[in-house]
């Protein structure tokens, strides 16, 4: 399997007569895009707005963020958007420095914010990219859960529609992701074989029946299995919650293992799994995932990350313990939430943890001229820790005291951030 990610450098995004890429500018036919998205019966109407780096502009109520990509042959987001087929092999065009941002006044958290300038941009890369913001509104009586799925699908549609404009453009840079079949090539003996164990979802918030997470599946009852890392990078996976799909497309651990593959390690492969809700299932998945890493991928060491809440710390600790019992070394990446609790649960044998940061660290975002997504946000500006659901709304354009975790793209549970933590 070989994935060629062809990056097309985009310096500006504007509305224009036709959707096209010309001289590093992405032009968007706004009417054509909104008509395409308005085909969704649950949408009453859809707005499309643009936000550019450096602007005094704030986007709130972000549901998901995607990098616009287009596979030159075969399905895009099979099972979720296009019909079933495989991904991870072939050429994919990427619009570099452009993001598709789904927002929703009704189904997204208010406190999920992208600022296009100011301190937020020191934490998150998203404010330094051109954001194409989608604002869908439901028809009256639309089921909330179904509407949420429709918004996520709209993001996929927009992402593919925009990136298709680059299909005939020669990329400015091509990154090649090629990992041979495990069975025939385990690499030189002196390079440790490293596998990535990836719980992609926690069913403490169960997926909906027709939710599309992995190749269009709702992943209920998902058992650990081996996938090719390119499939994660190339559109097989959308996160249901707790992480932005951008970080599946640009998965930090997968990219890091690829980066060092053949130099100080051998990338043994990826075990994909979920965090279930009973102890018995958690134990079973941990045993099976570790076994796949050891016996099928031949790993000497594993890295594991999580998606979800404190309950999933248990799954990670089990994966760690089973891996080490089997003779592999393990390291975990675990996001911390609160300045006092850190993470829920660390057994004595666990000695290798990496933190991508603390979400509930306070940060002040300055007032802005323009807000996209909604006019107000429910917030206690004297205390970002106040999450009383009956808080009065405040104007979203004023100075906001929020958490670092509210900045979209600042800390991803799969291991993307510019941060570490310390105990002060």
């Amino acid at each position: 399997m070989r994935l060629d990610l062809g990056f097309v450098d985009i310096r500006d995004v504007r509305f224009g007569q036709h959707t096209a890429v010309e001289h590093n500018v992405l032009f968007i036919d706004r009417e054509e895009l909104t008509s395409l998205l308005q085909e969704e019966p649950l949408f009453d109407h859809v707005g499309v707005e643009l936000a550019h780096p450096g602007e005094s502009c704030r986007i709130i109520r972000v549901l998901d963020v995607l990098e616009p990509r287009f596979r030159l042959s075969g399905p895009n987001f099979p099972g979720a958007l296009d019909s079933m087929g495989l991904v991870g092999d072939g050429q994919t065009r990427v619009l570099k420095n452009v993001l598709v941002v789904e927002t929703s006044e009704s189904v997204a958290r208010a406190r999920s914010i992208i600022d296009m300038s100011g301190p937020a941009t020191t934490y998150s890369p998203f404010g330094d990219m051109h954001n194409v913001v989608l604002l869908p509104y439901p028809v009256s009586g639309a089921d909330r859960d179904e509407f949420r799925l429709a918004v996520k699908k709209a993001g996929l549609k927009a992402s593919v529609y925009l990136a298709a404009a680059a299909k005939d453009i020669a990329p400015h840079e091509t990154q090649i992701y090629a990992l041979p079949s495990v069975a025939f090539n385990q690499g030189p003996k002196e390079l440790p074989r490293i596998a990535y164990i990836f719980p992609m979802h926690s069913h403490q918030h169960p997926t909906q029946q027709n939710e599309t997470v992995f190749y269009g599946s709702n992943i209920q009852g998902f058992m650990p299995t081996i996938v090719h890392p390119n499939e994660i990078l190339d559109g097989a996976l959308m996160f249901s919650y707790s992480a932005y799909t951008y970080f599946a497309q640009n998965h930090p651990v997968i990219r890091e293992l690829y980066r060092r593959h053949g130099s100080d390690l051998w990338f043994a492969g990826v075990v994909l799994t979920v965090a279930p809700v009973t102890i018995a299932e958690k134990e079973r998945n941990a045993y099976l995932a570790a076994q796949l890493a050891k016996e099928t991928l031949g790993a000497d060491g594993i890295i594991a990350t999580k998606i979800g809440g404190g309950a999933v710390d248990t799954d990670l600790m089990m994966i760690y313990s089973r891996a080490e019992e089997m003779g592999m070394k393990a390291t975990l990446i675990i996001m911390e939430r609160y300045p006092d609790t850190g993470i829920t649960f660390v057994p004595e044998n666990v000695n290798a943890l990496v933190t991508p940061g603390l979400t509930r660290d306070a940060v002040a975002l300055p007032a802005v001229d323009r807000v996209i997504g909604a006019d107000t946000v429910s917030l206690d500006n004297s205390n970002p820790d106040n999450t009383d659901p009956t808080l009065s709304p405040v104007a979203a354009r004023q100075e906001l005291k929020v958490w670092v975790g509210d900045i979209v793209g600042a800390i991803s549970q799969v291991g993307a951030s510019r941060l570490t933590t310390y105990t002060s």
């Binding site: 069913h203 403490q204 169960p206 809700v277 009973t278 102890i279 018995a280 309950a311 710390d313 248990t314 600790m317 089990m318 829920t344 649960f345 660390v346 057994p347």
Partner: protein, 52 residues
């Protein structure tokens, strides 16, 4: 979360019906679910009578 309970020193802990239904199992028909609940509670009561 038995491992967490043991970690913080709560030694009398038994597996629940799961995060979203600690003393239930929504996949069972109601009467079977109640039986499951009863057997879980009886096991809990049994542990209260045991040394740890």
């Amino acid at each position: 979360m038995i491992p967490v309970a043991k970690e913080v020193g709560s030694l009398r802990a038994i597996a629940s019906g799961g995060i979203v239904s600690p003393t239930g199992n929504p996949e069972l028909p109601l009467d079977k679910e109640k039986e499951f609940r009863r057997s879980l509670v009886l096991r809990a009561l049994q542990i209260l009578k045991e040394e740890v």
